[in-house]
């Protein structure tokens, strides 16, 4: 069974030789630590990213087609100011951030940046920025597209669209948040609902128009919404707001995707979005990731509640890996056996591996996960 068949079978609750073995990635600080602890040169093969697979770690291949849904052209990234401790940077998406210099490795800091300013403060700002979301911009697609299509034909690994991560925005909340900041993205539904409707229609139209050619020419294995619209105590937007503003547009885009054969539709949100899951299912989303344990996301409970209506990925508490082998074993044994039995589950850490995880613990975790996945645990 190749990686693509394995993925497809897993997400459709069909028999597999084993579940897909995947991980999201590691912080650059973690990678540097692991190197000091004996990880060989040239590993991980794709920098700090693991989601696209690793031959060394035995992780299955996955690819995304790099279709740009963010602004084109972007804003010129520039350092606006700096002092001994902080950098003030205008990001490519127009946001201005304040970031701690200390501990930065390969552009990644040990703490989140503070967001200082956003490009959209009023309707006029948004009107002035719309031209940057032209679906027909040539740079939305990778160069030499026909050759990309050729390479993806006959592949043996799954491919999704669009690229994930905060620089490749696509979700409604994530887009709004990047345009106007979290606070305004939470209140605009009350302050100016017609504008919110207008923006959401604009985003949905933009996604559909941009992807039209891609979904016609490539057989994608899944689509992923990047949202991050929850924190550890629940969603940042209420179910009523989601039902009124999000669901109709999710439905429209998801129907469009399904009409092109994409029937696995993921939504990525850190935090605890549980309150919203029924609405997400109603809108055509059928996969939640990465199920952050620290925010009380429990994959076993979610499976119990939603059965085969909802696929799951993640759900393994990364904090266990900072402890010891016993904690790792307990975490894996509590979650994997019941979920692997039913399918529709890709066990992986609930986010990137933080720098308090020793290399030996990560290796132990991967080894044990593989044993359980292959039915070799305890054999």
């Amino acid at each position: 069974m190749n990686a693509r068949e394995r993925f497809q079978n897993t997400m459709h609750f069909r028999p597999v030789d084993r579940c897909p073995l995947m991980e999201i990635g590691a912080w650059p600080q973690t990678v540097d630590r692991w190197r000091r602890e004996g990880m060989p040169a040239g590993v991980p093969e794709k920098g700090d990213v693991l989601i696209y697979g690793s031959e060394y770690f035995g992780l299955d291949r996955l690819e995304c087609v790099d279709i740009e849904l963010n602004l084109i052209p972007d804003f010129p990234e520039e350092i606006l100011d700096e002092d001994e401790r902080y950098l003030f940077i205008r990001r490519r998406d127009g946001r201005i951030t304040k970031g701690l210099k200390e501990g930065m490795v390969r552009g990644v800091r040990m703490s989140m940046d503070q967001y200082m300013d956003f490009p959209v403060k009023c309707r006029e700002d948004w009107d002035a920025m719309k031209w940057r979301f032209n679906p027909a911009s040539p740079a939305r697609y990778p160069p030499y597209w026909p050759d990309v299509v050729r390479c993806l034909r006959g592949r043996d690994y799954p491919v999704h669209v669009p690229a994930d991560g905060s620089t490749k925005l696509n979700g409604f909340f994530m887009t709004l948040r990047n345009w106007m900041g979290t606070e305004k993205a939470c209140t605009v539904f009350y302050d100016d609902p017609s504008w919110a409707h207008e923006m959401f229609d604009f985003i949905a139209d933009m996604i559909i128009s941009t992807l039209q050619r891609a979904v016609t020419e490539v057989e994608f294995d899944y689509f992923e919404w990047s949202e991050d619209f929850a924190y550890n105590a629940g969603p940042l937007v209420s179910p009523r707001i989601v039902k009124t503003f999000f669901v109709p547009r999710y439905r429209r885009v998801n129907d469009f995707l399904r009409s092109h054969g994409i029937d696995v539709i993921a939504l990525d949100s850190d935090g605890d979005p549980r309150l919203l899951i029924p609405l997400l299912l109603e809108s055509g989303v059928n996969w939640i990731t990465p199920c952050e344990v620290a925010a009380k996301m429990d994959v076993v409970a979610l499976r119990k509640q939603y059965g085969r209506d909802l696929c799951l990925a993640g759900g393994v508490d990364k904090r266990a890996l900072a402890q010891d082998c016993q904690a790792i074993q307990a975490e894996l044994l509590a979650k994997l056996p019941p979920l692997l039995e039913t399918g529709g589950f890709i066990p992986m850490l609930d986010h990137t591996v933080p720098p308090d995880v020793p290399y030996a613990n990560f290796l132990f975790y991967l080894d044990l996960k593989r044993k359980i996945a292959e039915g070799r645990y305890g054999a």
Partner: protein, 397 residues
Amino acid sequence: MDGRERFARCMACQPVDRTHNWELGIAAETIARWQAEGMPRDIHVGTVLWTGNEYFGIDRIAVLPLKLSALPEFDVPGSDQADRADAPMQESEPHLSASKPRHRQIHMYLAKSSSILPGSSGEEDDDPGFASPADLRGRFETLIRDRFRPDTRGRYPMWWPEVVRCLGEQESPLCVPGQSGIGLLSTLCKWVGRSGVDRLFRDEVRLAEEMLDFLADFVIGVSMRAMTDLPVDWFNWREDSPDLAAAQLPVPLFRKFLLPRYRRVNDFLRAHHVETIGMGILGNASQLVPTLLEAGFTCVWPVDCASGMNPLALRKEFGRTLRMMGGIDHRALTQGRETIRAELESKVPALVADGGYLPGLDTPVPPDVAYENWLYYLDVKRRLLSACDPDQTRSAK
């Protein structure tokens, strides 16, 4: 005729429907200028052009990005990945003269921070004051050898069978090793600095030869799998270190130290049917050309006119044995249309008809070139490339 066949025939001086449209690159500052002058801002345009650009009609060259630098990389305290001294340049990075300041910065950074070999700073005006030969050798054994092992994971992209499937069946010429390139002299220069190279060639001949033999073995070792599994059209050497370009090296030294090793690797490449073995070289390399041909090179680029190289003169002297890419004086583009047309018409028809020549600017487009002039240049060149039917021209001769 697909792009791969067209490139192969061009470089073999055989008839083609039109000549492969080649350009080297664009300086980052030039892109900003052109955007201000009306170039669309929503197209794919980066500092590299030689791998192709759909908007400007530059033909594609596919690249296998082998990693031929140190693994693990040398630590440069406080530096980001992009500034790591030995990190390969990204495919989108500028190179050759447009990137001189950046290259210079990187090399100086390496020289100041890495201390790969004792006393080696890379500063041109610095006497490295090497320690004893034994110490020098010891450092080579401990710091270099392990980092330049051909079999280290990460030198090849993952999922090799799939890479072979995609690259093996595509319709563009395939170049190895890609933008990061490698040169025997430039790598030695990275290891020991310019003054270190001087010292090695003068006082530590045996060690210099051993290091270069080691490097040649390394290049062969890394390339072996690619050469076996893929139809490689072009192997791309680069001796464009701003600290010590090969053109600056006295020919006798090149012949003594570099020629035998280049010959060995190039023979290996030819044995694996690589027809174009190119040398990217800064400055005026005219005097070096006979030695390069003897070493198995078939092609030089970018034929730097400002330093006195002239593709017409080279063709006259070396005939079709020497193939060329570049050779159009970039300074013409800072002037008017007449100068641009005159520069192109003086070189392109004759050389393209003769074959074995891909006309292009002799440097990444510098920021004193107006966008309008660039478009005019591309337009005239495109028409000349299409108009030149080498078959007819040769028959008429």
